[in-house]
């Protein structure tokens, strides 16, 4: 009788081992080498995974932690990782004071934006125009919208699909370099561009 119970317990153990955990989470380093964190909360004791290759296995009991190897990640997650889209890119282009004309440096930089868009099979582009604090707010709101529109027209002229571009003007509302009113600041005369 006791032997039968032991066998049953063993069978259950083997069955569980064969199935593996309900969920396995592995934190990976970002492209720039930094590492964020993931908390795993199974309703009992939340576990924090906050270093590269930190792994948590959710079994229904306590979350088991360990450090995974690169090879394990490649074997288990290779196909999911291979399907990863090109990551979004961020750019800033700067303008000549009180105009929607790019500075000569940003004129060169524009090319990088265009090339980044073109390497993507499908893309969405967001352009947000901004100004420094010289002039009144309403005027700057309009100027920032003009800057965003100028970049959109430029991209469209270069063959980027208009439907894939969205534009907005935010005037003085997002200063890269905080200043008081009526301060000329070249780093605030810009558009922020996200390509994804």
């Amino acid at each position: 009788m006791t032997v039968r119970w032991i066998w049953l317990a063993l069978l259950i153990l083997v069955a569980q081992a064969g199935c593996g955990p309900k969920a396995l989470i592995v934190v990976l380093p970002n492209a720039d080498g930094s590492v964020g964190a993931v908390t795993v909360d199974d309703g009992h004791d939340p576990v924090l995974l906050d270093h590269a290759y930190a792994a948590g296995a959710v079994t229904g009991g306590k979350v088991e932690t360990k450090t995974a190897t690169r090879q394990e990640v490649r074997e288990t997650f290779g196909k999911a990782l291979a399907a990863q889209p090109i990551l979004p890119s961020h750019f800033q282009l700067y303008f000549i004071s009180d105009s929607d004309v790019l500075t000569s440096e940003s004129e060169l930089r524009y090319r990088r934006v265009f090339e980044d868009i073109k390497r993507r099979p499908v893309y969405q582009v967001e352009v947000v125009g901004l100004t420094d604090t010289v002039g009144d707010r309403a005027y700057n709101q309009e100027l920032s919208a003009k800057r965003a529109a100028a970049i959109m027209e430029r991209l469209v002229a270069d063959g980027v699909s208009r439907e894939a571009i969205s534009i907005a003007g935010r005037g003085e509302l997002d200063l890269a370099v905080p200043t008081g009113p009526q301060v000329s600041e070249s780093r605030n005369r810009r558009v922020k561009i996200t390509v994804r």
């Binding site: 396995l24 989470i25 990976l28 995974l49 290779g78 999911a80 499908v122």
Partner: protein, 158 residues
């Protein structure tokens, strides 16, 4: 009485018009809400489940809150959300976009995805940065909170 005498032709026409009304109601229903993500990569069998519809996923397709993505045994799919969160699923995967809201003017938002089965790679975006607890992923038997990172999940819910 007039309604008793209604011809089959009239009934058929009524049915046809009824179908048209239903169809025209359905199209704006999905167009009403704006897309929360876009399909960027597809390989093998990958399906978007939207209500009762099952649509073969294609590169460029928009995705909406409440959509579910499924991949077959040779399939994979990669998507990018409007807050720049990037996710890609390997074979035999099922991922539901349960809740999603994002305000691009202040980068605040919240998302909950349900990773029911398979493998998933995630690179978090603006929502995870906006506040602790803003980005959550449900897996079988656990909820994950994400703070600015790349990570992978294997889920065995089936």
């Amino acid at each position: 009485m007039r309604c008793v005498g209604r011809s089959l032709y009239e009934i058929a026409a009524g049915c046809f018009l009824g179908t048209l009304v239903v169809l025209s109601l359905e199209v704006p229903a999905s167009a009403q809400s704006s897309p929360v993500a876009q399909v960027k990569t597809v390989s093998g069998a990958a399906v978007i489940v939207r209500g009762a519809q099952r649509l073969a996923a294609r590169t460029g397709d928009p995705l909406f809150e409440k959509d579910t993505i499924e991949t077959g045994k040779d399939g994979s799919i990669g998507i990018t959300f409007i807050d720049n969160t990037v996710m890609s699923a390997g074979p035999n995967s099922e991922l539901a976009l349960e809740e999603y809201r994002f305000d691009s003017s202040n980068f605040n938002g919240a998302m909950l995805t349900d990773m029911r089965n398979g493998t998933l790679s995630v690179v978090s975006g603006d929502i995870a940065r906006s506040s602790p607890g803003a980005m959550k992923i449900r897996t079988p038997k656990a909820i994950l909170g994400v703070r600015g990172t790349k990570f992978v999940i294997k889920a065995r819910g089936k």
